[in-house]
Amino acid sequence: MSNILVYIHAPAGAPTKGQRELLALAARLGQASAVLGGPADAAALASLGAAGATGFYAAAGGLDATGLIAPAVSLLEAAVRESGATAVLLPNTVEGREIAARTAVRLDAGVITDAIDVDADLTVTKPVLAGSYTVKAQVTRGPALITLKANSVELPEAAPAAGAPAPVHELELGETGPAARITATAPHTATGRPELSEARFVVAGGRGVDGDFGPVEDLADALGAAVGASRAATDAGWIDHSAQVGQTGTTVSPQLYISAGISGAIQQKAGMQTAKTIIAINKDPDAPVFEIADLGIVGDLAVVLPQAAAEIRRRKG
């Protein structure tokens, strides 16, 4: 059975949904091992094991957390050489893509980003050109480095019970090359809502909210949804930039995307048009967003959203 590596950016007591998807896909393709991009305690190892990891690779003496990208590249390169892996799966994040990019140069290998599926023969399915085409692609040389979009893999109903802890292989990295230093990190403010890229439901607001995200957040909470935004709304400072959906923000592929007070510019559509169901609320009947909405409501979001939120709460009892 071929060895498949999964790059785990920040191991924690409970793996994120995205990490569990990576491990589930790897287990389907072969023998899954996790490469630990940060310190992992016994609880983290046990939960990664329960999610499918049958072995671990870590930097001897720990990975230099202040070095940007380059230390992780050295770790991944060493893990591939040690394991003889045929494929490496990484999250489709800024870090995941950059680590894959540089590791590919070192291993003279190919990278495919934005994967939504990987077959047994490592053929990758991915959307391109803002979701207007679906492409099948393959790596022809070296191990296949693949970055997987969140929400792409069906997770098993019940996680397998954790068995005996799998072994951790410690790798000597040596000099990891010139790297920028990370001097401080300001974590995203926790909202208590689902993480945008992984959420099943997203309610997004645009310039039409006119400074008040209250109605958007209210409907999101009634639905258990993440909150998204157009660039016009984040540029105006009404909500954090991390909420931006689109070409230069987060791309989402949820079951349901509710777009409120957003016109539907191409750069916004690029980030959400693969949603299963799209509902749009806009005052302007000619807004381009209506061209892709399964349900379009011509109306004032300040009226429609609170009514919908109240109705959901009423029906849920």
Binding site: E98, A101, V111, L129, G177, A179, A180, Q247, I279, R315
Partner: protein
């Protein structure tokens, strides 16, 4: 790259000529290549050009010996991306142009670019956009840092070089949140669309650009074998491509007081609640 300490800076900005996102874009032919007519300078590269010009200006501009050079790789029409950079204020241009480059993936592209950068030499800063708007992989900036053996400062929403020093301090947005990052020259930088407000070429800039020089480089001049780039040199291959069926517009209703309820009925019918 030169180990220049402080003033002045040699800055190279990479620009790409890509199909205009405002039009329908198509893949076709045996390699499922992108139809490149109706191409323009990638919008996201305008932020890189602006960042390059601003860094040079902060050190006294071209009068103080700072240079901003714009470089592209692509078919003949790609020179237009360099021309627009010259109109915005870059001083000179380089165009890597060779038919054997067609079909290069990110790895082969970064190889050709890195080879040219090393040959031209002397850059303190190589600047790029956060992604091209065609393939949108964001792989090339990190691969260039690797191939050039310099630190990467990527996905920056803010950056400056402290006056009189050769340290770049910057803000990067990543998975963990906003990171403060720093590195000493030479560096590879990529900037997001949050980094600045790109300037428009003015009339004087457009006239001045006509006198600026664009150097064309072939693979032979770079000393690169044809098999090292293009489809042959690429470690990835597209097997097939299918246009996604266009999203059919659904029903549109006008709110007459009950649309919020209708929205919830729709969710219930679709078994979403």
């Amino acid at each position: 790259m030169s180990q220049n300490t402080g003033t002045p800076l040699n800055i190279l900005v990479l620009v790409k000529h890509v199909p205009d996102v405002q039009f329908d874009r198509h893949l076709s032919g045996p390699g499922q290549r992108l139809d490149r007519k109706d191409s323009v300078l990638s919008e996201l590269d305008e932020y890189a050009i602006e960042a390059a010009l601003a860094l040079a200006e902060a050190r006294g501009g071209d009068k103080a010996g700072n240079t901003v050079t714009a470089m592209t790789m692509g078919p003949e029409a790609a020179a237009n991306a360099v021309k627009k950079s010259l109109q915005m204020g870059a001083a000179a241009g380089v165009h890597i142009c060779d038919p054997a480059l067609a079909g290069s993936d990110a790895g082969a592209t970064s190889l050709a670019l890195a080879t040219a950068i090393k040959q031209l030499g002397g850059f303190d800063v190589v600047l790029t956009g956060m992604a091209s708007t065609d393939a949108e992989t964001s792989l090339v900036p990190a691969q260039l840092a690797e191939r050039l053996g310099v630190a990467q400062l990527t996905n920056l929403s803010k950056l400056e070089i402290d006056p009189g020093t050769n340290t770049v301090t910057a803000l990067r947005v990543g998975e963990d949140g906003a990171q403060s990052v720093e590195a000493t020259l030479p560096v590879l930088i990529s900037v997001t669309d949050q980094a600045n407000e790109p300037r428009y070429p003015n009339f004087r800039g457009i006239l001045a650009a006509k006198k600026k020089k664009i150097t064309t480089l072939t693979l032979a001049q770079l000393g690169l074998a044809e098999e090292a780039v293009g489809a042959a040199g690429s470690a990835t291959r597209v097997l097939s491509a299918a246009p996604r069926p266009p999203r059919a517009a659904g029903q549109v209703i006008t709110d007459s007081g009950q649309a919020g309820i209708a929205l919830v009925d729709f969710l219930a019918d679709a078994k979403l609640i």
